[in-house]
């Protein structure tokens, strides 16, 4: 009989599920992790609702960092942010596989193992999208001086972006809104950033921008057009690097 731990699609949720599975001393064929809402019921399975706590998540995080090393933790953390229903199983499978090889810290090199390979793949996808948004994200200055950005990512990349912008713009008040997952991060000048979940956006407030802001957007659009070399123009090459899904939130593509 297989026991499946059901959790929410958050890092805390997934890590809590893994905590419970680990406590029950499950193996690949006796336990699994499933996400609430993305559940496909199977026969001969026990479904258990995970009680999610910060404590469980921290314990799992510490355990992974200690036994598999920081680089492997970052792969696992990124995989936990991916838009993929099987990510919980892949992470658990990776952790179980790590127990069986001689040096657990080399687990991410064990690419011929399907779970490890999946975590690696997911981590690469999420890392790639986060990296893309570090460049493609656009702030606009609202009338109250706050820099506001809206993104529509596939994966939950906000927590990958926040440290980057906090380091880069420490003396600014800024906010990034993830329209796909309805989450946001807020950063107040000189302080640490905070993550907010399940919030609705004040549409009027975030479109209230000053003339100065419009002028800089115009300068940027002008620059964007002149910097391209006419005799090398290629729309398809542009799309190849900068797919349409990014363009809709970028000021230079809004006419």
């Amino acid at each position: 009989m297989k026991t499946i731990y059901i959790c929410t699609d958050t890092v805390t949720g997934i890590f809590s599920g893994i905590y419970d599975a680990w406590k029950a001393e499950g193996e690949e064929d006796t336990c699994g992790i499933a996400l609430r809402g993305a559940l496909e019921q199977q026969l001969f399975c026990d479904y258990v609702e995970t009680v999610e706590t910060e404590h469980k998540a921290v314990v799992v995080e510490t355990m992974i960092k200690k036994n598999l090393g920081r680089p492997a933790y970052w792969d696992i953390y990124h995989a936990a942010l991916a838009a993929d229903a099987g990510k919980g199983d892949a992470i658990l499978g990776t952790m179980l596989a790590a127990r069986r090889i001689r040096d657990s810290r080399k687990i991410m090199e064990h690419l011929s193992h399907p779970a490890v390979e999946k975590v690696f793949e997911l981590s690469r996808t999420v890392g790639g999208e986060a990296h893309a948004f570090k460049g493609f994200l656009r702030f606009r200055e609202l009338v109250n001086g706050v820099l506001f950005a809206e993104i529509t990512p596939k994966n939950q990349v906000l927590t990958c972006l926040a440290p980057h912008f906090a380091d880069r713009l420490p003396q600014e008040n800024w906010m990034i809104y993830d329209n796909a997952h309805k989450t946001f991060v807020v950063h107040e000048a000189g302080k640490k950033w905070v993550l907010g979940l399940n919030e609705q956006l004040d549409i009027d407030a975030v479109h209230n921008i000053s003339d100065r802001e419009r002028e800089y957007a115009r300068l940027w659009k002008g620059f964007f057009h002149t910097i391209s070399i006419e005799s090398r123009e290629s729309r398809s090459r542009q799309l190849q690097h900068l797919p349409l899904r990014f363009q809709k939130n970028m000021v230079e593509f809004n006419h």
């Binding site: 090889i101 080399k106 090199e109 064990h110 690419l111 011929s112 390979e117 793949e121 990296h131 570090k134 460049g135 493609f136 994200l137 656009r138 702030f139 606009r140 200055e141 820099l147 950005a149 980057h164 912008f165 380091d167 880069r168 713009l169 420490p170 003396q171 600014e172 800089y216 115009r218 300068l219 940027w220 002008g222 620059f223 964007f224 057009h225 002149t226 910097i227 391209s228 070399i229 006419e230 005799s231 090398r232 123009e233 290629s234 729309r235 398809s236 090459r237 542009q238 190849q240 690097h241 900068l242 970028m250 230079e252």
Partner: protein, 440 residues
């Protein structure tokens, strides 16, 4: 046209970015730096692309000239003094404001500042220094700065600018001294190489300073690069690769950029204008070969020779090399050393690294290679897994060439020059040099 003092910011930016766009380098990579918490900006080792223009080129830096006035008369350059184009200059304040305001909106990763020569090389370099000083010290900007060293400028000035910038570059302009003399009569090879050497030495000294004093200021931490124009003069690919190779070896350059020649001026010394557009495929092949030099432990003399001085237009340089050295293939993936893996078409340096690590934990099969990122449709002719090839194939140049050509190389979109053509009895697909000549 005379400088118009009252020109709007929009028009200035328009003119001075238009004049800077032919410069190729727009990378923001090579240095990693956290913000210090008081100013604005940071740098990432890999660099960050912030947008892609209509030509599909990455936009990472605010790429502008300080001024497009110039006392020189380089035949290929839009800003040559004989051209009648509107001229203007920024002030250091304007450059700083633009950079800071663009940066905080995350439009850009930093500043790329080049310039025409206003009055004299020294005068121009001083203006650039004043701008960077203001940006770094007054605006407290910690983002990426790429700056051009002006050939002929005072050494001390170049050195001082180097402590404010992340990357410096001196344009080689053209591959050989003769071409330079012909197309850029006011520039000399010596004047170009001198600041390049200066930056190289500065970086070497700085390395010791940083070892001795951890907080010593950094000199050009992201290294220096250069660029040359391809197709304006008759050099062969072999000559160009040799120049690039010696720049990497003797001047410690981070990158050499190749810029397909674009007609902006009419001049008797320039090649005749054709309908084919810039030689983008040739540029692409040079970049591929450049990667082979930097990441794949190839030497220029292995890829080309006096007899075959140009790249095959139909095959990338690595495939071409492999086909000429079939006696070294197939290689056994589970045993071959890293250096040999790098030479297999379809295996990149990242996949090669992953293979070396993964095979310690088990024997690799073709499915594993696929997951690792190996392009099997190219690699399958050159590798075995546990002694078996993926399919029964012949190790024969003609056979493999035909099959590789069938798989269609994935060229960057927009590159033309390798179009479908009428088959004729006398076509010989194996000889690249013939094809390369027809490209010009």
């Amino acid at each position: 046209m005379r400088i118009q003092e009252t020109m709007s910011m929009y028009d200035k930016l328009n003119i001075l970015s238009d004049a800077a766009k032919y410069d190729v380098a727009c990378t923001s990579s090579g240095t990693s730096r956290s913000g210090d918490g008081t100013g604005m900006g940071s740098c990432e080792q890999t660099g960050i692309c912030h947008s892609f223009g209509a030509d599909g080129r990455c936009i990472s830096l605010l790429k502008i000239l300080f001024t497009n006035e110039c006392i020189y008369d380089c035949k290929y350059c839009i800003n040559r003094r004989n051209n009648d184009v509107p001229r203007t200059s920024f002030t250091p304040e304007e450059v700083c404001t633009l950079t800071m305001e663009f940066y905080r909106r995350n439009y850009i990763e930093g500043l790329f500042l080049s310039s025409g020569i206003l009055k004299s090389p020294d005068y121009t370099m001083e203006l650039i220094y004043a701008t960077l000083f203001k940006l770094r010290k007054e605006c407290n900007f910690q983002g990426y700065i790429h700056v051009k060293a002006i050939p002929g400028a005072n050494q001390e000035l170049v050195r001082r600018v180097g402590f404010l910038a992340d990357r410096m570059s001196v344009n080689l302009e053209l591959p050989t001294a003769e071409s330079l003399k012909l197309l850029a009569p006011h520039k000399t090879r010596k004047n170009i190489l001198a600041p390049m050497r200066l930056v190289q030495n500065g970086m070497a000294e700085n390395k010791y300073e940083i070892q001795a004093y951890r907080n010593a200021p950094r000199f050009v931490p992201a290294g220096q690069s250069t660029q040359m124009i391809i197709g304006a003069t008759p050099e062969s690919d072999y000559q160009i690769m040799q120049v690039a190779e010696s720049l990497y070896q003797k001047f410690d350059l981070k990158r050499v950029f190749y810029s397909a020649f674009i007609h902006v001026n009419e001049d008797a010394t320039l090649p005749a204008r054709t309908d084919e557009g810039p030689p983008l495929l040739r540029e692409h092949r040079l970049y591929q070969a450049d990667w082979l030099l930097r990441y794949y432990q190839f030497e220029a003399a292995e890829l080309l020779s006096e007899e075959h001085p140009n790249f095959n237009v139909l095959l990338d340089p690595k495939c071409n090399w492999a086909l000429k050295h079939l006696e070294q293939f197939p290689v056994e993936v589970n045993r071959a050393d890293y250096k040999m893996l790098l030479r297999v078409p379809g295996i990149g340096y990242k996949s090669a690294g992953r293979i070396v690590k993964a095979r310690r934990l088990g024997t690799l099969g073709f499915q594993d290679l696929k997951k690792i990122g190996v392009v099997l449709k190219r690699a399958l002719y050159f590798i075995t897994c546990s002694g078996r090839m993926m399919y029964p194939t012949k190790i024969e140049e003609d056979y493999i060439t035909r099959n590789l050509l069938d798989t269609k190389e994935k060229l960057p979109d927009g590159i033309t020059g390798m179009t479908y053509r009428q088959l004729s009895l006398f076509d010989d697909m194996r000889f690249g040099s013939a094809g390369a000549v027809s490209l010009r």
